[in-house]
């Protein structure tokens, strides 16, 4: 097990990404941040928390999306369902999807399909904490990434969160 990001580095990365996300925003009403269930939520909670505390309190529209029904592997076993909570219209908004690790791109593919059931966004962007380059199975890339990692398929990147795993850390297994 090798540490990729320590707790301190993780905090700095989240801070940087929060600022980057907002750099291009002209009107806060025009964007919505949507975290992808289940593990992207921990990351999006931090980003939104950061924005609310230090940058633009109460001005960010924030939702959560479960993509289980849009997966392409239902026949290979069921996944646990999580709550989808998007109590606002995404019509003509810029939606920033947030997930912890970008790997094959299949999750994001499903998330894009799931998102369109809620309306027609003006633009969709993707923000991930870890981008595993060279392992994509779909033509999907992140607009914002915390850290790029080049790994072989047998290796596994795990993002640990205090709320769930007891500590903040990104490790390579």
């Amino acid at each position: 097990m090798k540490t990729i990001l320590t707790e301190e580095q993780l905090g700095l990365t989240i801070q940087r990404l929060s600022h980057q996300l907002l750099e291009n925003i002209i009107r806060y009403d025009d964007i919505a941040i949507i975290g992808i269930q289940p593990r992207g939520i921990f990351f999006s909670d931090r980003i939104v928390g950061q924005i609310n505390q230090q940058i633009a309190p109460g001005r960010i529209t924030y939702g959560k999306l479960d993509i289980t029904f849009y997966r392409d592997d239902v026949r290979q076993g069921l996944h646990t369902l999580n709550q989808t909570d998007i109590p606002f219209s995404i019509e003509n908004k810029t939606v920033i999807l947030i997930d912890d690790v970008l790997y094959t791109g299949r999750t994001i593919r499903a998330a894009l399909d799931a998102l369109l059931a809620f309306g027609r966004p003006a633009k969709v962007e993707l923000c991930v904490l870890i981008d595993r380059r060279f392992s994509r199975e779909f033509p999907i890339q992140a607009d914002y990434a915390g850290k790029f990692i080049d790994t072989i398929i047998t290796q596994k990147v795990k993002v640990l969160w205090k709320e769930r795993d007891g500590k903040d850390e990104v490790v390579l297994l």
Binding site: F69, V74, A117
Partner: protein
Amino acid sequence: MQLSTKHLLGIRDLQASDIQTILDTATQFKEVLQRPIKKVPTLRDVTIVNLFYENSTRTRISFELAEKRLSADTINFTASGSSVSKGESLLDTVNNILSMKVDMVVMRHSASGAPHFLAKHIPAAIVNAGDGINEHPTQALLDAFSIREKLGSLEGKKIAIIGDIMHSRVALSNIYLLKKMGAEVMVAGPPTLIPVHIREAFDIQVEYNLRKALEWCDVANVLRIQLERQNQVLFSSLREYSLAYGINRKMLDGLPKEIWIMHPGPINRGVELDSDVADSKQSIILQQVENGVAIRMAVLYLLAGKQPISNP
């Protein structure tokens, strides 16, 4: 997140954890049904045949809608207008349909045990949509879902099932389910319409006085008098039944607390329920119908997850 069974033949075969899983899954599907686009691609490679050997409005439309919302391919089959009238047996009919590569069978039949018989002989997953006077599991699940929505949980809640208990598959499925989930159950109705040993068999209460039953319960699930299944005279007239066991506004207003009124449909207005009860704020009959689609989506989704790719 897996069911312990490959088919949904009855609530009797389910474990409490299965029921919990189905209800929780239905909660997520109910959210899907509130979206601008109510269709998800989850079962897009699954083919389902709806095999209805007996009349149905709600259940059939509800299953069909659930299948469509899940993007499954569906085939509808009704006994009238098919080769059943030429004398083809149930097993032959189903095997012929299955040879066209069907993954799941949703089935209603007037003979109790028909889906259990099929389950022994064919590889597809079977969902019982009502068999004779045995069970109607998805109805009990949607009833439970509706109660849970109103009261928060089922445990310790008092549910009275009122009417023709003897001929009702809804009653039997409800009793199994409510007992498994820790609710208190009472059946009420005329003695001729309540099976003799039901109290001992299920450890439930029996009441012959309608007012006492209503005073006791949090929710009254009112059943239809099933004249089509009664082959002997069990009460003298519908009017007499209505006088003794029909629920009206005055009766509800005289109760110490507000109770919820449920009915699996179709309602015989003026017999078991008066219109001013059926259409009142206390009635959740239409919510039951709405929840039915979410429950059936959950059942089909959870059973499809157990199916290997490209059946038979």
